[in-house]
C-alpha cells in the first residue's frame, strides 16, 4: 500500500489506513521527539498528540498531502509549544538552571543506547543548539530534503542550508578531533 492509498483511506476514515501510517512513521517521529525534548515520557505524549491530530484531520487531508512533511510539521509545532511551556515553568520555579543533558549516564537516552560510540554520538547531538539539532535530525536521520525541512519549519531554504552547515561543524567539534565519527563530518 503506498502513501496515496493511505491518504485515501484516511480521508474515508479507515482505521486500517491509520494503522499503516502509524507503523510507518512511529519510529521516526518518536526518535525526533526524544532527541528534541530529551525526555521519553514527553516524547510519548507528543507522539500521541501528533497521531491524534492526524486522526482528527484525516477527512480534511488533501489528496496530495505528503505525510512525512505533515506529521513532522505537527510534531515540530508540538515541540515548540512544549519548549515554551517549559521555559515558563522554569521561570516560575525561580529560574533554576537547566540540567546539562547528556552529562548523566542515567538519562533516558543513556538507557537506550548500548555502546560508547552511540553514547558519544547521542551526546554530540544533544549538545547541538536546538535549531541545528532539529535540522540535523530531519535531514540526517529522517532523510528529508532541505526544501521539505524548510517547509516544515516555516523557514527559507537558505536558512536551512546555513543551519545544516553549522550543525555539521558543531557536530564535528562536539565529537572531538580524534574520534572516528568526527573524521566523517569534518
Amino acid at each position: 500500500m503506498d502513501e496515496r492509498a493511505w491518504i485515501d483511506g484516511l480521508r474515508r476514515g479507515e482505521p486500517g489506513a491509520f494503522d499503516a501510517v502509524f507503523a510507518a512513521y512511529r519510529r521516526g517521529l518518536y526518535g525526533y521527539l526524544v532527541r528534541m525534548t530529551r525526555r521519553r515520557d514527553i516524547a510519548e505524549d507528543l507522539l500521541q498528540d501528533t497521531f491524534l491530530r492526524l486522526a482528527q484531520h484525516a477527512r480534511k487531508l488533501a489528496p496530495d498531502t505528503r505525510l512525512s512533511a505533515w506529521l513532522f510539521t505537527v510534531a515540530h509545532r508540538l515541540v515548540i509549544s512544549w519548549t515554551r511551556a517549559q521555559a515558563v515553568r522554569a521561570q516560575l520555579a525561580g529560574d533554576l538552571p537547566a540540567r546539562e543533558v547528556g552529562s548523566d549516564d542515567r538519562s533516558p537516552l543513556g538507557a537506550l543506547v548500548d555502546s560508547q560510540a552511540q553514547i558519544a554520538l547521542e551526546r554530540a547531538f544533544a549538545s547541538l543548539a536546538p535549531p541545528y539539532r532539529e535540522v540535523a535530525l530531519l535531514v540526517g536521520v529522517e532523510g528529508l530534503a532541505p526544501t521539505e525541512v524548510a517547509e516544515i519549519l516555516g523557514l527559507k531554504p537558505d536558512a536551512i542550508r546555513q543551519r545544516l552547515s553549522r550543525a555539521r561543524i558543531q557536530l564535528a567539534a562536539a565529537l572531538g578531533e580524534h574520534s572516528p565519527a568526527s573524521r566523517r563530518v569534518s
Binding site: 484516511l10 502509524f22 519510529r27 500521541q48 477527512r59 537506550l112 543506547v113 540526517g140 542550508r161
Partner: protein
C-alpha cells in the same frame, strides 16, 4: 563545502545513532486512542471553554461600563 556535502556527511555520521522506538505496549495504547478518532474530527467540547471565558469577560465588561455610567450620572 557544498549543501550536498553537508547532507552526505550528516547522513554518514547519523548511521551510528541507535534507532529509538516507543515501548510496544505504549505504542499500542497510543494507536488505539488515536485510531478511535479517525475521521471524527476534533471534539466540539473544545469550543466550550472559550465560550464560557467570552461570556464571563463580556459580563464583566458590561458590569464595569454600568458602574462607570452610574458614577458619572450620579
Amino acid at each position: 563545502m557544498t549543501d550536498h556535502d553537508d547532507v552526505a556527511n550528516l547522513n554518514e555520521v547519523v548511521r551510528g545513532l541507535p534507532a529509538l522506538d516507543v515501548e510496544p505496549t505504549t505504542a499500542e495504547q497510543i494507536a488505539r486512542r488515536a485510531r478511535n478518532d479517525v475521521g471524527r474530527g476534533p471534539s466540539p467540547l473544545r469550543f466550550v471553554e472559550p465560550a464560557i471565558a467570552a461570556i464571563l469577560a463580556a459580563g464583566y465588561l458590561a458590569w464595569a461600563v454600568i458602574k462607570v455610567i452610574e458614577s458619572l450620572g450620579g
